[in-house]
């Protein structure tokens, strides 16, 4: 699925230059599951953004199904994001003025579906994450766990090939965290997704079959025996 070669990324923070990624080589197989861990500022989110086509490396290549996201024109990159990649963010990032249903529909807008089809698909996915009854609620009327479920539904409604999650349980309490992780793992298994997640949480990291640790822009991969809970 993914093949990263010699990916380097620097950016300026004030007067200093931060080496976020330093020659990263990484392969993620189709349907695989990878957890990225590392200290704050180590380059975890930058790596996730490279995988999601949200940012481009200074050098190196990021191949997704053989297409180099590093050199793809902006319009095609936008199309790749719209069709193939689902994002889940730590802060949920829901549009506060739109209902749960409408938030899920925003992911289908770039695909040019008819409003009726959008509504039906969004309704089905919301039901699958247990929020069928809350589809008309605004994000402000939902709990943190429910908001993250809406965000997961939004990521999955377009049936992406890849699900990228950046600290998806970072804002949740322990019981809700486990609930969300169970949901994500179920969806991964059921949908045959390639699932990459950034987390600080060691307990969650242990649940993945592959762990990528990133320090000072360099990645180390460790295969591990995964287990839930």
């Amino acid at each position: 699925m993914y093949q990263l070669s010699g990916v380097t990324k620097r950016y300026r923070r004030g007067k200093a230059t931060v080496q976020a990624l330093d020659g990263v080589d990484l392969a993620i197989e189709d349907g695989g599951r990878l957890v990225i861990q590392g200290p704050t500022g180590g380059g975890k989110s930058t790596l996730l953004q490279m995988l999601g086509g949200l940012d481009r490396p200074d050098s190196g290549s990021v191949l997704l199904d053989g297409v180099d996201l590093a050199t793809l024109p902006e319009s095609r990159l936008t199309r790749v994001r719209a069709e193939k990649i689902g994002f889940v963010f730590q802060g949920f990032n829901l549009v506060p003025t739109l209902t749960a249903q409408e938030n899920v529909e925003t992911a289908l807008v770039p695909l040019g579906l008819r409003p009726r089809e959008r509504r039906e698909r969004a309704g089905e996915v919301l039901a699958s994450v247990g929020l069928g009854e809350r589809r008309g609620h605004l994000p402000g009327e939902l709990s943190g766990g429910q908001q993250q479920r809406v965000a997961i539904a939004r990521a999955l409604v377009k049936s992406p090939a890849v699900l990228l999650a950046d600290e998806p349980t970072g804002n949740l309490d322990e019981s809700t965290r486990d609930e969300i992780m169970d949901l994500l793992e179920t969806l991964w298994e059921d949908n045959g997704l390639t699932f990459v997640m950034v987390t600080h949480d060691t307990a969650l990291a242990r649940r993945a079959p592959r762990l990528a640790t990133i320090r000072k822009g360099r990645v180390t991969i460790r295969e591990q025996v995964a287990g839930r809970g």
């Binding site: 989110s45 719209a82 739109l98 409408e102």
Partner: protein, 485 residues
């Protein structure tokens, strides 16, 4: 999704939306009111000018002013009466018709008509009738004694020489002065009479080129108690009053209208006119026609409506200057400020929505779609501002019309070309020089003004949207998400 999203965002940010819309509304309302007042001023000026010129006249041709000493053969009017015997208290009366200003040969009318760009011409003779009516009695000589040292001079009705004394005698008379205009009855669609409507009786017939008939201005008719069917005697000729004319606005161009030939006879000005009224074929060519007439018809002065408008002074002129100067600039400044504030507020709103727009871009929304959303919201704000502005502007224009002051237009005062009313003038445009006309200030709002307001509202929305849209389009999803991480 576009409209749902737009509606929800406007509802959520209704305070900010109201601020943006109110700013635009203020600017737009000001533009409407200033525009309406300016239009009212223009209409008032046009009404004033129409009262001088008549409808459809683009310019007048008069004889060029001559150097002092020339062309003043008429001098002051002189009336001669024989004194009546003592005890005879019957009235004596005399009137005199004096051409106002300098006259042109009536062949000038045809010469002017031959010029390029001239559609129609008509000649007219403007005159003033001075009528003196009263008693003139002779003094009586009373024989008396011669005082020591000779006779005693006196003034008034008393005087004497030798031993006789003169007692009594003197004069008591009224002077009535009014304006008379000789109009070409064969061509009545041009000239001063077109600015009046016949409110009683009828106007001249084309065949009445030398008939002893008169149309009298309603104000003068009321003053002199003249009615249709009555008689008006001028220099011994009794004119049948066939119609009463009421000026459409302001004062009438003349008190009495008679056929041109009659006026020429009365004023002893056969074959003369004082003014040629000209209608151009194209209102855009007036300056060219003016130049052609001045070049090809010597010793004439050509006065266009624009020239005459320059001579309008008084509070109407001051208000018009204020409306076109201060008012217009104030509108532009307020509007520009409203546009900039709307733009900055929209831009600031985009800054507060970085995460939202970054997320949408991460979901695959193109920059154009995000920009459209921002511009759409700004445009609706602009339209709300436009609607408020139109309502406010209409209310303002209504208030100006309802409670606005009456303005005074002073015509021709202080300008060489039109100065010297009364005997120094030359045609209605000149004879009325120096007179004041009261005009009620109105503020008509045209459909064009409403269209302009809508255009400004859209422009305001687009300007604000451009500020915000530009920011939104430059937003990179990675930067947006990094900034809030």
């Amino acid at each position: 999704m576009f409209f749902t999203y737009l509606r929800r965002e406007l509802r959520r940010r209704r305070k900010a939306a109201l601020v943006v819309a109110s700013g635009l509304a203020l600017g737009i309302a000001l533009v409407i009111v200033v525009g309406a007042v300016s239009e009212g001023m223009s209409q008032a000026q046009a009404r004033v000018l129409q009262s001088l010129y008549g409808l459809g006249t683009d310019m007048t041709v008069t004889k060029a002013a001559e150097p002092p000493g020339e062309g003043q053969a008429q001098g002051r009017p002189r009336f001669e009466f024989d004194a009546k015997e003592s005890g005879d208290d019957s009235d004596q009366s005399s009137d005199m018709v004096i051409v106002q200003g300098q006259s042109l040969a009536d062949s000038t009318v045809a010469k002017v008509a031959d010029q390029d760009g001239v559609a129609d011409t008509v000649g007219g003779l403007s005159a003033r009738v001075m009528k003196v009516n009263g008693q003139f009695t002779r003094g009586e000589i009373e024989p008396g004694q011669t005082p020591p040292g000779g006779g005693r001079g006196g003034d008034g009705g008393e005087g004497g020489s030798g031993g006789d004394r003169v007692r009594g005698g003197g004069a008591a008379f009224d002077v009535n002065s009014y304006t008379l205009f000789g109009t070409d009855v064969a061509q009545q669609d041009l000239g001063p009479l077109t600015s009046s409507s016949i409110t009683s009786g009828r106007t001249f017939k084309a065949a009445e080129t030398d008939a002893e008939v008169a149309v009298v201005d309603s104000a003068y008719a009321k003053e002199q108690k003249l009615k249709v069917g009555g008689k008006l005697t001028v220099s011994g000729t009794a004119y049948a009053v066939i119609g009463i004319a009421t000026a459409d606005s302001g004062d009438a161009a003349a008190n009495v209208y008679v056929p041109l030939k009659q006026a020429q006879t009365l004023a002893d000005a056969k074959g003369k006119v004082t003014t040629v009224y000209v209608r151009a074929t194209d209102s855009q060519r007036i300056d060219a026609v003016k130049a052609a007439v001045q070049k090809n018809v010597p010793d004439t002065t050509v006065t266009t409506s624009a020239d005459l408008a320059d001579t309008v002074s008084g509070s109407l002129s001051t208000a018009a200057d204020l409306a076109s100067g201060v008012g217009r600039w104030l509108s532009v400044i307020v509007l520009a400020a409203a546009f900039v504030v709307a733009g900055l507020l929209t831009s600031s709103a985009v800054s507060r929505r970085v995460r939202e727009f970054g997320t949408l871009k991460a979901l695959g929304w193109r920059s154009g779609r995000v920009t459209r959303q921002v511009v759409g919201e700004a445009l609706v704000n602009g339209l709300i501002g436009g609607a408020l502005g139109i309502a406010l502007g209409l209310a303002g224009a209504w208030a100006v019309t309802a409670f606005g002051p009456t303005l005074t237009a002073e015509l021709g005062r202080g300008t060489g070309g039109f100065g010297g009313g009364g005997f120094g003038g030359g045609g209605p445009a000149r004879q009325t020089a120096g007179r004041a006309v009261d005009i009620a200030l109105t503020a008509p709002v045209s459909l064009g003004a409403i269209g302009l307001a809508v255009g400004l509202a859209v422009a305001g929305g687009l300007v604000a949207g451009a500020f915000g849209g530009w920011r939104a389009s430059r937003l990179r999803p990675a930067d947006a998400l990094r900034r809030i991480a």
